[in-house]
């Protein structure tokens, strides 16, 4: 949504990925968000993850709802189709698009208002369908475009810029997603690209619904003393439980990791995520353990981060539906038309 065209400057020595593309080729238009906005750092992480996986730029589809976060798909992957939908309605657009063409990488970008208030129903049901997409919540606890109202993700007791205290409990997208049946749940911090990029790589390659909640401070309306979504608060309470590394299919894991704390999980395309436990009590493959740990840490005021839950065994929407492997948009009409003979046969039941 930029008014200024981004100059296409390329450093001659920028590294190339397997497709011979530089990271610049995965960028989009100029951001119009506030200087220092956490969302721009997430945009950067998406660009880096997509470049790093060497996925052709036009094989992504970028979808969003309404809000500051939902503007960001214009700022990455300029060679991908994007759709900025209605407030809270991105999951249904993603469901439809994925129904029609199951072969694309779907990236949905949403905010805490977009997902946890107006779009809570669609968010929940996209999870329930295990829709094959990466769903990023750029979580700042506040409505930015309308200037600073609390969102449903704001913590109880957190203070607004003008001093009002939030009295309602927060909805935690991570524990909510796990209880709804999400098969990949992660949380990170926009200020920690080293953690976020491998999480996004893993999320893009996860078969099913990958929810990535990214704490992303709002520098204009929610970065003050008393806020629990400020840069300072987030840094102070940042508690990585599981660190993740993404390993492409060709690489050997054993060469790089010691046995023990490292737990490789194979993704459907043969790539792997290596989960490294930092919190020894945390088991990201156990739903009950994950939720109880999250709740306990949450009550203690800790922001638990990392890949918090992972289950590669669940079928995604098309597998449940038994949809043909060919994307529906590529099936020629001649194959879809049952023909006049069949119509005659069908009508014999209506005589």
């Amino acid at each position: 949504m930029s008014f200024i065209k981004k100059p296409a400057v390329r450093h001659p020595k920028l590294p190339l990925n397997e497709l011979g593309l530089t990271v610049r080729d995965y960028e989009g238009g100029m951001s119009t968000l506030c200087a220092g906005c956490g969302h721009d750092a997430i945009t950067g992480a998406i660009v880096e993850a997509a470049w790093g996986l060497s996925i052709p730029t036009h094989r992504f589809a970028k979808l969003s709802g309404i809000g500051c976060s939902s503007k960001t798909p214009a700022y990455f992957l300029r060679d991908s189709h994007g759709l900025n939908s209605c407030h809270g309605r991105m999951p249904s657009i993603a469901t439809g698009a994925n129904s029609a063409n199951r072969d694309l990488y779907y990236i949905g970008v949403s905010g805490d208002g977009d997902s946890l208030s107006i779009g809570m129903g669609q968010f929940a049901h996209a999870i329930r369908r295990n829709l094959n997409m990466t769903y990023i919540i750029e979580n700042n606890g506040v409505y930015g475009l309308t200037k600073g109202q609390f969102s449903a993700a704001a913590d109880r007791g957190s203070k607004a810029k003008k001093g009002e205290v939030n009295l309602q409990p927060a909805i935690d997208p991570c524990s909510t997603a796990i209880t709804l049946g999400a098969t990949f749940v992660a949380r990170s911090f926009s200020g920690d690209k080293a953690q976020l990029v491998p999480i996004l790589k893993a999320a893009f390659n996860h078969r099913g619904f990958a929810m990535v909640d990214v704490i992303s401070p709002c520098v204009t309306f929610n970065d003050h003393e008393g806020s629990t979504r400020s840069y300072k608060y987030s840094r102070d309470h940042f508690a990585p439980a599981i660190m993740a590394d993404f390993v492409p299919p060709a690489e050997d894991i054993k060469a790089r990791y010691e046995e023990g704390e490292a737990m490789p999980v194979e993704l459907h395309d043969g790539s792997r995520i290596v989960l490294r436990k930092i919190d020894k009590d945390y088991d990201p493959t156990d739903r009950v353990n994950a939720v109880s740990n999250l709740m306990r840490n949450n009550d203690a005021g800790e922001i638990t981060t990392g890949i918090l839950y992972l289950d590669e065994s669940q079928p995604e929407m098309h597998e449940v539906n038994n949809t043909t492997a060919t994307p529906l948009i590529d099936i020629p009409y001649s194959k879809l038309n049952p023909g006049n003979d069949m119509l005659r046969k069908i009508q014999s039941r209506y005589r």
């Binding site: 939908s85 879809l336 006049n340």
Partner: protein
């Protein structure tokens, strides 16, 4: 009905819902149909599962008049709760059949009709051991009684039962026994047949009996729809049921068993519409069936589809509003709401099928228009068309049909372009080319419901914004060239015309036939689409007096005619039927008589 007549009568069966009367009623109707007699079945049912009153009305008409007749020649009164009203509804000279196992109320009597008591429960109790069978078979016994009273061809009934219960031998025996019991009892105890009877004819040859939702679902399969998203709502639910059934029959890969379609039951209508837009944006033919309350919820996305120019097909099977209204009663009261669904300057292309046959063909028209015009197209059916059993011409599919996908540039075409701009009106027909996600990096664009310019970029610039919305208005003019023309029955002699729409068609035609017999010649135009095309204006100009017949309180079709056409308000006379029952010819005839008499008095 005192004069003996053949193949012109209406039977109404009053029952309690949940007692299994549907199959017996269907059997009676199908028997008439198979005897070659034009027939229509209308179901007046409650929004309820079990225990409330329900009626099924069968009209046989050799002349082919298949609107609701508005009179009852033979009532089968099976529901004590509604007995009084059912008795009152029988036309003078008509008949009423009731279950004489229990005594009737003495005070309920009519001298101008014949009341026939049949010990239905008693016969069933004596012949069927099981309680549920006793309830169900009572319905089949009255079918047997009617077969004797109306002189049905018993072989036809036997064949129908054999087909229906081919795989359920025990049910077949019970049904055959019940029919025979009713038939034989009537022959032994009653004067049969009645003065009005059924006689074998050939008028139903080349026809089928089908409801509009089934036909529309089938039409969506033939149109090449691959994605269906929906949220259950009466009276549209059976449309997606049909689509699913026909997809399972015809769209499974014979080798892998995989589905060449994807049906998603959405969490609500908002999501259903979002899924349709998402799928259409990605390049599939996608649709959703719904009814009034669903359209209200879908309005936000309908406006999005209009502004972002995404094809979509919505079947609105209308029911009685406002609000929840009467979910199981019919109306045409979403015309205005559909035409302008959503905020801002939004307008939608509407199509108006009049019967199941048109529902089938309108499906592919709707997809072709939606993709050609890159906009949501709403098909306005209604409960009467969608859920009732109509006799309709056999459906044909031209295997040379190719879907009109509109201006879609696929990878090879995009590759040849210097640069792609999504909303550039290159052909000067107000329709820009679109591309599909995943095809080619050069085709990428950003779709948004916010202000955008002709290049597809975000804008808040006054001129750039205006350019886009003005082009959308110009596209409305383009649409007029593509939408189906109205049906016109015209004679230069007549200075009066009737304009009508959708399911009013049968009643209007029957009414005009009746008026013609009385020496009143009236021309007829049936709207099939919005925007209207030039023929509508011409018809208005050609007549001194026009009646607009429609099924809503607020004259919504007339309202659109006044907005879109050059016509003085007083030239359009309203004939409005909106009590939830289908329109009858008599209603139209009476309204026209009353109006003409008014003119003579003045």
């Amino acid at each position: 009905m005192n004069k003996p007549s053949v193949n012109e009568f209406t039977i109404k069966i009053a029952n309690v819902n949940g007692t299994g009367s549907a199959s017996a009623n269907g059997l009676i109707m199908k028997t008439l149909f198979r005897m070659g007699i034009p027939v229509v079945g209308k179901n007046y049912f409650p929004s309820n599962i079990q225990g409330l009153p329900t009626w099924y009305e069968i009209r046989a008409s050799e002349k082919g008049h298949l609107a609701r007749s508005g009179r009852v020649d033979l009532m089968v009164a099976m529901n004590a709760e509604t007995y009084k009203q059912d008795l009152a509804e029988v036309a003078s000279g008509g008949y009423l059949v009731y279950d004489s196992t229990w005594p009737r109320h003495n005070l309920l009597q009519r001298d101008d009709i014949t009341i026939i008591g049949v010990p239905l429960s008693k016969m069933c109790n004596e012949n069927f051991p099981n309680a549920r069978a006793r309830i169900l078979m009572k319905n089949v016994v009255y079918a047997g009684v009617l077969a004797a009273l109306l002189d049905f061809d018993l072989d036809v009934i036997t064949t129908l039962l054999n087909e229906t219960f081919a795989k359920k031998a025990h049910l077949l025996d019970a049904n055959q026994l019940a029919i025979r019991m009713g038939y034989e009892w009537a022959q032994a105890n009653l004067e049969t047949p009645l003065p009005f009877t059924a006689r074998t004819s050939d008028k139903s040859n080349g026809h089928i009996i089908i409801d509009g939702n089934t036909a529309a679902g089938l039409g969506a399969v033939y149109a090449g729809a691959t994605v269906g998203a929906w949220y259950p709502i009466t009276p549209s639910t059976s449309l997606m049921d049909a689509f699913k059934r026909f997809c399972e029959m015809t769209r499974k890969d014979p080798e892998t068993g995989e589905s060449n379609y994807c049906i998603v039951q959405a969490e609500d209508e908002l999501a259903a519409m979002g899924m349709v837009l998402g799928a259409s944006w990605a390049g599939a033919r996608a649709f959703t069936p719904t009814s009034g309350p669903g359209v209200s919820l879908m309005s936000e996305f309908l406006g999005y589809g209009y502004f972002a120019e995404i094809p979509a097909v919505l079947f609105n099977v209308q029911r009685c509003g406002p609000s929840t209204g009467m979910p199981t009663r019919t109306q045409q009261s979403d015309i205005v709401a559909s035409a302008f669904a959503s905020h801002g300057d939004t307008r939608h292309v509407l199509l108006f099928p009049a019967n199941p046959e048109e529902c089938f063909y309108t499906a592919s028209t709707a997809f072709d228009l939606a993709e050609r015009l890159q906009t949501p197209v709403i098909v306005l059916s209604d409960l009467d068309i969608g859920m009732n059993d109509w006799m309709t011409k056999e459906l044909q599919w031209s295997d040379t049909y190719q879907p009109d996908r509109g201006k879609v540039l696929r990878a090879d075409e995009v590759a040849k372009l210097d640069k792609f701009h999504r909303y550039l009106d290159a052909d000067q027909d107000a329709i820009a080319a679109r591309t599909l996600p995943g095809d080619h990096p050069k085709g990428a664009y950003f779709t948004r419901g916010s202000g955008h310019n002709m290049y597809g970029a975000y804008t808040e610039n006054a001129d750039e914004y205006k350019e886009v919305v003005d082009r959308l208005r110009a596209k409305w003019e383009t649409a007029k060239k593509y939408v189906p023309a109205p049906e016109v029955v015209y004679s230069a002699k007549n200075s009066i015309g009737v304009i009508s729409i959708g399911s009013c068609d049968e009643a209007c035609k029957e009414a005009l036939d009746a008026l013609r017999e009385q020496g009143i010649g009236i021309n007829y135009l049936r709207i099939k689409s919005f925007p209207f095309n030039g023929e509508v204006q011409k018809f208005i100009d050609d007549h001194e007096k026009l009646y607009v017949v429609e099924q809503n309180r607020d004259a919504q079709l007339k309202c659109l005619l006044c907005i879109e056409c050059d016509v003085a308000d007083e030239k359009l006379n309203e004939i409005l039927h909106y009590n939830g029952l289908p329109l009858t010819a008599n209603f139209v005839v009476d309204a026209i008589h009353a109006d003409l008499a008014k003119g003579e008095a003045a």
